[in-house]
């Protein structure tokens, strides 16, 4: 079934949630969230559907970034209240190469998240990484309680991976979180982080090399 065609819009350029402006010419693919966004614009109470769809993704991103359950809840609340207030200023942005699963609302929401979380990180003097370790460890223990040995191995591997992630430079860490936790495409991550797709690919490639080294698997020379 052919996809609707709309006037081309520019990529996000500023940090302001509603700061993007359309430019004429070209075509774009449909934002998969368009019906929900339009419904929420007509009736703000319908924002709940968007909230339900993305609250876990936003919360998970915040938790990995802040490594603190309470801080993650706090920023998640701020992100969604800000998004609700700014929704009338949201402009749909998409490129055909983003694919049928692309959601520019999700990119827009995560750009808000990136800014709110960055402010929170700046405001925090310390980063209690153990909170995230404990949270993940507890969950894995419960999930695999029938096999203590296997659970211990999984928990140890997960803890090492999280520690390695937390030690990465900010941009590499965020790129991996968005790729693996929120399962974003490279183009979506590029839009969230204000980078080119090529830059994001290299960022992730290098971050995986860092993770491999941190896990005791030095990269082979190819």
């Amino acid at each position: 079934m052919p996809r609707p065609v709309f006037g081309r819009l520019t990529r996000p350029t500023g940090d302001s949630p509603g700061g993007q402006r359309p430019t004429p010419g070209g075509v774009v693919a449909l934002d998969r969230d368009r019906p929900l966004v339009e419904a929420a614009r007509r009736d703000p109470a319908r924002f709940e559907a968007l909230y339900r769809k993305y609250v876990a993704q936003v919360y998970a991103f915040a938790l990995y970034e802040l490594a603190d359950h309470h801080a993650a809840e706090d920023v998640t609340e701020r992100i969604f209240t800000r998004a609700l207030v700014a929704l009338p200023r949201f402009r749909e942005l998409a490129d055909p190469e983003d694919g049928p699963q692309a959601s520019t609302f999700r990119v827009w929401l995560f750009r808000i998240a990136r800014n709110v979380i960055a402010n929170e990180r700046r405001a925090r003097r310390r980063r209690p990484v153990t909170s995230l370790d404990a949270a993940l460890g507890a969950g894995l223990t419960i999930a695999d309680s029938t096999d203590v040995e296997a659970a211990a191995v999984i928990r140890e591997e997960a803890a090492a991976a999280v520690r390695a992630l937390q030690d990465l430079p900010d941009d590499r860490r965020r790129a991996l979180e968005l790729r693996f936790v929120d399962e974003m495409s490279t183009s979506e991550i590029a839009a969230v982080l204000d980078r080119s797709e090529g830059a994001v690919r290299v960022l992730i490639h290098r971050a995986l090399g860092d993770i491999a080294r941190a896990l005791g698997r030095p990269r082979s020379r190819r």
Partner: protein, 169 residues
């Protein structure tokens, strides 16, 4: 044959890894399918690191208590209760009932017990690539088994909708 510039080689490697991650995270096919398809193209060390991250970086879900509280606050904001957007403002939301998922009492909720006793195939090494672990309130479940969906339906069955909550305001 002229040597490939370093920057170009890095770009090509990064592109190949990107394709591998697409296959890995899409979870198409049986376990290890992504690895087999990219066996000769992706650095095995990078592949292993990606596999570890895929297993380890679970998506952590907020507690139902928090999710409902924030939903109520957003609903109040959307309904024109401007004060609800003020930091620290108190907005009405339906109190938790006994047996809800996140009141922390073992045995209080059969669903919570089921989540806590989630079978090992949900998170174990034999997990299908299509099944991503999901941590909810301290217990891991998976999208494939949709326990979270079951929990949500059960929860909504005993709790008022947002529209009903608005009617109470």
């Amino acid at each position: 044959m002229p040597a490939i510039p370093h920057d170009s080689r890095v770009d090509v490697e990064a592109l190949i890894v990107d394709r591998y991650l697409d296959a890995l995270l899409a979870g198409a096919g049986e376990p290890g399918a992504a690895s087999r398809d990219h066996n000769n193209t992706v650095d095995p060390i990078i592949r292993e690191a990606a596999d570890v991250l895929r297993r380890s970086l679970v998506r952590v879900h907020p507690s139902f208590h928090f999710e409902e509280r924030l939903a109520a606050r957003l609903s109040a904001m959307a309904s024109g209760h401007a004060d609800a957007s003020r930091p620290g403002a108190v907005v009405p939301f339906h109190p938790l009932r006994r047996g809800s998922l996140d009141d922390g009492n073992p045995g209080a909720s059969p669903i919570a017990d089921a989540l806590a006793a989630a079978p090992r195939e949900m998170t174990g090494a034999r997990r299908s690539p299509a099944v991503r672990p999901l941590l909810i309130g301290g217990a891991i479940t998976s999208a494939a088994l949709s326990l979270a969906g079951v929990a949500w339906v059960a929860r909504r069955a005993v709790r008022p909708t947002l529209a009903e909550l608005e009617g109470m305001l």
